[in-house]
Point group: C2
Chain length 110, copies 2
């Protein structure tokens, strides 16, 4: 059985946000994003894929299209396909998010 | 922006586990499962859909095919398409899981 401890994937790097894969199949991926204060995921869009951010630790400012909202641990954000989305850790603490995307934009072999 | 507080969806019922939808699109769904002690999701399979369980609170015994494992808060479990999977809250505390499935088995209108 594939069981992953999320704390074990919690890892930061000084130059940019760190993404660690939790699971992926040909149909979706699940990553853990770890952002030091001041780090960000630049706004971007995926034509055909939805993304969900689940904030596990800290707080960040999320963008979906022309909306910006501060979201903290215990909340989930939907970035539907085609939306311009990103997240900035503009607070004083570390930010950790679980991220799901479906379908997988670059599916691995099945 | 669609932002959901997970605590606000945390809800139990006496007769069976409760599922509350967090987000869904035509491509995936994300639910919150809340199980009182003694409640379970019966083992079942989805031919084409993958499921991820993320344990947020408590502990349960997860099944994927012929494997059974006790998994607690902070861990994620993958039930790949075609696998027989389920979860039983066989401990003394409440169990809360975030569940993602992709693709959506019964997609809503886009």
């Amino acid at each position: 059985m594939r069981v992953v401890e999320l704390e074990g994937l919690r890892s930061f790097q000084p130059d940019k946000m760190r993404k660690s894969n939790v699971f992926e199949t040909t149909r979706f991926f699940c990553d853990l994003y770890c952002l030091e204060p001041g780090q960000a995921q630049a706004p971007h869009a995926h034509a055909g894929e939805d993304k969900v951010y689940v904030v596990l630790e800290g707080e960040g400012t999320f963008q979906v299209d022309d909306e910006f909202e501060a979201v903290e641990a215990g909340y989930a954000v939907l970035a539907p396909r085609g939306s311009i989305h990103g997240v900035a850790n503009d607070g004083p603490d570390r930010l950790v998010c679980l991220v799901f995307m479906a379908p997988h934009p670059k599916p691995p072999a099945d």
